[in-house]
């Protein structure tokens, strides 16, 4: 042979950039969330003084902080899922294995039904399980374990057994370019399973307090984390232990003409709609974050709609069979004589989540604004 050089390799593989540590200055998931954040107007919440000392955290760090507290306080607690040991593909568990050991924070084999079933077993044995499903789009292999097992454990055993110590965390929602399987909001699949709780935070302070509640709540909880907020949502988050109530919506902006109702990322879209309505139409909006999808706080929403006479509910998931339908139905029953216009739902269309058409698919502020205008002029 003519040369000692390795054919192919020098020319085709000596890609230094590829192997250099942090050569690209990125960590996992950066690019999955980078793009859309520019268009997402995030308005930070202010932490109530009684929650004590705060520090700057983004949403994934506030979740790490919540799990850190649980691992510290509850010696039975374990945190696990695919790629969790090195910190998780969205960095939510960074440092926890080093701090608490690999028997408490660990990788599982790649099987979602395995992860949830395993978590159920831990909870049945009286220990605390915090399991991660890498993307909400991949929760469906575990559908049977969640819907037929976790949801029904207490009921079917006459309360001999329960899996209240189980919490499933999973990143969800649109990021700008996730396509069919890195974008979905699956909440409405699970609200049809009495026995489960389904919770979706809108920001870091909420995320930490709600996750701590889910973990301590004596019912199995699915905690869906809008992944576009992991890095883009930054707040002064209380460093200590605090909980926020499950099953309780929050009125985050008071108003008199229209109630805007959403959860997760959509709360921030609706906040912009409220600003638009104020600036362009001189309309006063009341903005509500539902926070817990199951069991949902109908009382807060009913009270608001009785005051405003109008409800616009908006979610990313497809409109048909979405949770907006449940809300609209309850509101027309409870508030019929107060309504000035039919309840409006502005949601994803009834298609799979499309990659390049995302800008047209989402219930963005312009679609919500247009629906609001129609309600005002009804």
């Amino acid at each position: 042979m003519g040369s000692a050089r390795i054919p192919g390799q020098l020319l085709f593989h000596a890609n230094k950039l590829l192997f250099g540590r942090n050569a690209w200055g990125t960590a996992a998931s950066t690019c999955l969330v980078a793009k859309k954040s520019s268009t997402l107007a995030y308005q930070p919440d202010i932490s109530p003084a009684e929650f004590g000392e705060t520090t700057r955290m983004n949403l994934f760090q506030s979740l790490t902080s919540a799990m850190d507290i649980v691992l510290q306080d509850d010696p039975t607690s374990v945190v696990f899922g695919e790629d969790v040991a090195f910190g998780g593909v969205f960095r939510c568990t960074v440092g926890l294995k080093e701090k608490y050991g690999k028997d408490r924070v660990f990788n599982t084999p790649l099987s979602e039904q395995g992860i949830v079933g395993f978590g159920i077993g831990i909870a049945v044995a009286g220990a605390t399980a915090v399991a991660e499903i890498q993307f909400a789009d991949y929760i469906f292999p575990a559908f049977d374990q969640l819907v037929n097992e976790a949801a029904k454990y207490r009921y079917r055993s006459g309360d001999l057994f329960n899996v209240g110590k189980l919490t499933i965390r999973s990143p969800c929602g649109a990021v700008g370019h996730g396509g069919l399987y890195h974008s979905q909001m699956p909440e409405s699949f699970f609200v049809h399973a009495p026995g489960l709780k389904v919770v979706i935070p809108r920001g870091p302070i909420q995320a930490k307090g709600l996750l701590l509640s889910c973990i301590r709540d004596q019912n199995p909880c699915i905690f869906l984390e809008p992944k576009i907020l992991y890095r883009s949502a930054v707040e002064e988050v209380p460093v200590g232990d605090y909980v926020l109530p499950l099953g309780k919506a929050e009125v985050i902006m008071e108003g008199s003409d229209v109630t805007l109702l959403g959860w997760g990322t959509q709360v921030h879209v609706l906040r912009q709609v409220a600003d638009l309505a104020h600036d362009k139409l001189n309309i006063s909006c009341e903005l509500i974050d539902l926070r817990t999808i199951l069991p949902w706080d109908s009382a807060t929403v009913i009270e608001s709609v009785k005051k405003t006479g109008r409800l616009l509910v908006s979610h990313e998931a497809p409109i048909t069979g979405g949770f907006g339908a449940e809300i609209a139905s309850t509101i027309q029953e409870e508030c019929f004589l107060h309504l000035e216009a039919p309840v409006q739902r502005v949601c994803g269309y009834d298609t799979p989540f499309p990659h390049v058409y995302e800008a047209f698919y989402l219930p963005d502020k312009w679609r919500c604004f247009e629906a609001l205008k129609k309600m005002i002029n009804y």
């Binding site: 192919g8 390799q9 085709f12 540590r21 996992a28 040991a85 292999p141 370019h177 390049v356 058409y357």
Partner: protein, 442 residues
């Protein structure tokens, strides 16, 4: 019930059917002896349903590492020397060149698309670095009409079949020429021309589907097999186990081809399984199994040829485990320096690379020179860049395509949603990226 009385009860059940009473009765003063003698006498010609197991008097625990690991079949050593001349598939020069060009073109395409993602020009990418031998060797051994179900790291298989650089780039851009109509993230290719079922992100779902397709092929007697690729991580999913069991019991002509590249994102195989890789599972399902050096394109070729023959001629599944290494990051969303060392990676780059091994082989034969390498590098780079800029210039498809293909025909409700989308976008034109898309019908 005590162990002794349970044994007694079972033995009597057997005894009643196959009367050979004398020895049974004579040795029953102790439970253990009793059941032992019953095994020898009454049952040595009769098995539990579905088994052919012999009885033993020795209580043995079967340890998983009792047998040596399944060996890795290879043809070439790391330096491209054929170890046993009988195993050389004897490719002619043209075939070798075609394989080499395909492996390196794939590598060049990967580098350019990877970089283009880093520059924000496409949204996502996954490279095939280090797995070129696994992909091209297996693709070359199939019949071009065999149906392929893949995972996502098998672009070379599609390239071997004739999917063009333009086809790849168009999909990654999701432009008007993407046959998938811009609906999926980059690398989710599909092609009816090349019998390659469109990639789906949820892992392992393609495995039972491949068994089903193979069953239909068997009934159609079409002379084709189904090829199903998957990773070492995907093999932990429930669908993997269901698929192998279905394929075995329903005797499906399918090749389950595992690319064992050592990682599932950050998860090393030690956290993924504790048996002897994926190959050791084959026997458990009653499936013929081969383990091969995935960095040896010739070995992969030979193994896939044999797997195909067995599968087709005997109408049954074959499990292949190709041992290789994922040299690149998992995807553009991953930085693998967080969980493995540079030196671990550089061993596979420098010492055992599939492209290097085939290159050595060809140089040894005088079929390839450094000058050829240089020329081809420039030429292939040029081809890729040209296809890239062609794809980049094309518009995205008409946004109306968001609503088609949900069903074979658009439902009335979807038609309503489509027209309200159009009306809305018309009204708020300035807020939508209409300039990047083909215009909507009036």
């Amino acid at each position: 019930m005590s162990v002794a009385s349970r044994c007694l009860w079972r033995s009597i059940g057997t005894f009643a059917k196959h009367a050979r009473p004398s020895r049974l009765v004579s040795s029953n003063n102790n439970a253990r002896n009793f059941s032992v003698s019953s095994r020898v006498s009454a049952l040595d010609d009769h098995f539990f349903p579905g088994t052919k197991c012999r009885y033993t008097q020795k209580l043995e625990v079967l340890e998983p590492d009792q047998k040596d690991p399944i060996p890795v079949y290879r043809v070439m050593d790391n330096k491209g020397n054929v170890i046993d001349a009988d195993e050389d598939p004897q490719f002619d020069k043209e075939t070798c060149l075609k394989m080499y060009r395909c492996m390196t073109l794939l590598n060049t395409m990967d580098r350019i698309l990877y970089e283009s993602q880093r520059q924000g020009r496409i949204s996502f990418y996954m490279t095939n670095y280090g797995e070129e031998g696994t992909q091209i060797g297996s693709a070359a051994a199939l019949d071009p009409n065999d149906l392929i179900f893949a995972q996502y790291r098998e672009s070379g298989v599609l390239m071997w079949r004739g999917f063009t650089l333009d086809n790849f780039m168009d999909q990654c851009y999701g432009n008007v020429s993407d046959v998938g109509k811009g609906r999926q993230m980059p690398v989710h290719y599909g092609s009816t021309d090349f019998h390659f079922v469109t990639i789906s992100s949820p892992l392992a779902t393609q495995l039972p589907q491949a068994a089903g397709a193979a069953y239909a092929f068997k009934r159609a007697q079409n002379g084709q097999v189904v090829m199903c690729y998957f990773g070492d991580g995907a093999a932990s999913e429930g669908d993997f186990h269901g698929a192998l069991n279905f394929a075995a019991t329903l005797e499906c002509p399918v090749i389950f081809f595992c690319r064992n590249n050592g990682y599932a994102i950050s998860t090393p195989t030690h956290d993924q399984y504790r048996g002897d890789g994926i190959a050791s599972r084959g026997a458990g399902y009653g499936i013929a199994t081969i383990r091969v050096d995935g960095n040896d394109v010739m070995a992969v070729y030979n193994v896939t040829k044999v797997a195909r023959q067995i599968s087709l001629a005997q109408s049954r599944p074959v499990l292949v485990e190709a041992m290789t290494y994922r040299i690149g990051h998992h995807s553009t969303s991953d930085d693998s320096s967080a969980y493995r060392t540079d030196s671990e990676v550089s061993y596979w780059v420098k010492e055992d690379h599939p492209i290097g091994r085939l290159g050595f082989y060809m140089m040894n034969r005088g079929w390839w020179t450094e000058q050829d390498e240089k020329n081809w590098k420039n030429e292939s780079r040029k081809q890729v860049l040209e296809a890239f800029s062609r794809a980049e210039k094309k518009l995205k498809p008409n946004p109306e395509l968001m609503f088609t293909d949900v069903y074979d025909e658009m439902t009335p409700e979807l038609k309503k949603q489509l027209s309200s989308m159009k009306e809305h976008v018309q009204l708020y034109k300035e807020n939508y990226p209409l300039g990047n898309f083909e215009s909507m019908d009036k």
